[in-house]
């Protein structure tokens, strides 16, 4: 084995630091060294920390929810037991569904599945709200997840009965807000 590679290595080791850091070869620009990779990992870690701080700020300094309008949804006379009525609340793009699952029981939910926002539908025979995309199942009584990938219950519309009329007046609180203080 000749001494040439050893000599070359010794020559290279004698090079100044800037020659190691800044290469004149275009191919070297695509090479990611350990130092660069470590910097990237630390910056990504900083990004995750900032994300958590943002969540903390959002949870501490959130604005009080705006009062939503009261919107008549359906007359009880027109909704049989097991019947469903689709409506939009509070905006025209917010699709919801009202289900009358017993003679004196009804509930309204956002139609967006909490997994990937597919539209859920009511299956009367099992009294479940079903997301057909990934087979998520929700209880019709309170919107909790029974099975499948959805991570959260369906957002529930607060309803008021005014005579024969069911009126949507806002959203039911979820999570910590739902528990008494």
């Amino acid at each position: 084995m000749s001494d040439e590679p050893k000599i070359e290595r010794a020559e290279r080791e004698r090079e100044p630091l800037w020659r190691e850091e800044v290469s004149i070869f275009a191919a070297d620009e695509r090479y990611v060294g350990r130092r660069q990779f470590a910097k990237f990992l630390v910056l990504a870690s900083l990004g995750m920390f900032v994300g958590n701080l943002w969540l903390l700020a959002k949870s501490r300094f959130r604005k009080p929810a705006a009062r939503l309008p009261a919107v008549p949804v359906a007359r009880l006379a027109e909704l049989p037991v097991g019947g469903v009525k689709l409506f939009n609340y509070p905006g025209p793009e917010d699709h919801c569904l009202l289900v009358r699952y017993a003679e004196d029981s009804w509930a309204a939910y956002s139609q967006k599945c909490t997994h990937l926002s597919c539209a859920v539908f009511y299956r009367a025979e099992s009294r479940q709200l079903v997301c057909p995309c990934h087979h998520g199942y929700f209880a019709v009584e309170d919107g909790r997840v029974l099975q499948g990938p959805p991570p959260r219950p369906l957002p529930r519309v607060r309803l008021e009965r005014r005579g024969d009329l069911l009126v949507a007046v806002g959203w039911e609180p979820q999570g910590d807000e739902a528990s008494p203080a």
């Binding site: 130092r35 990992l41 870690s45 701080l53």
Partner: protein, 92 residues
């Protein structure tokens, strides 16, 4: 190949730079693991936040800050090793 021809990976004859690189690789692997934990933590905290559980945000931020501090410590360790190696090479 006799036992004497095998590359040395331990002991005083093992080149200094090689040992440093092993330490740096280990630190990089640990950095990657810490980052994965942080990504999972952010995802879980976001999921809880969207579900209305706002009390999770504070402990998640504290733990994420500790993980970030650990990442910074590992980065400083890598930089220190690298500089020590460069100084040793310059002295030779």
């Amino acid at each position: 190949m006799s036992a004497g021809d095998e590359p040395r990976t331990r002991g005083p004859l093992y080149p200094l730079r090689r040992r440093e690189l092993t330490a740096i690789d280990g630190a990089l692997a640990l950095l990657a693991v810490l980052l994965v934990v942080q990504i999972w933590l952010l995802t879980a905290a976001l999921e809880a936040f969207l579900g209305g559980h706002r009390g999770v945000a504070l402990p998640a931020a504290v733990v994420s800050g500790l993980l970030f501090a650990a990442c910074c410590g590992l980065f400083l360790f890598i930089r220190g090793l690298d500089r020590a190696s460069q100084r040793a090479r310059a002295a030779r």
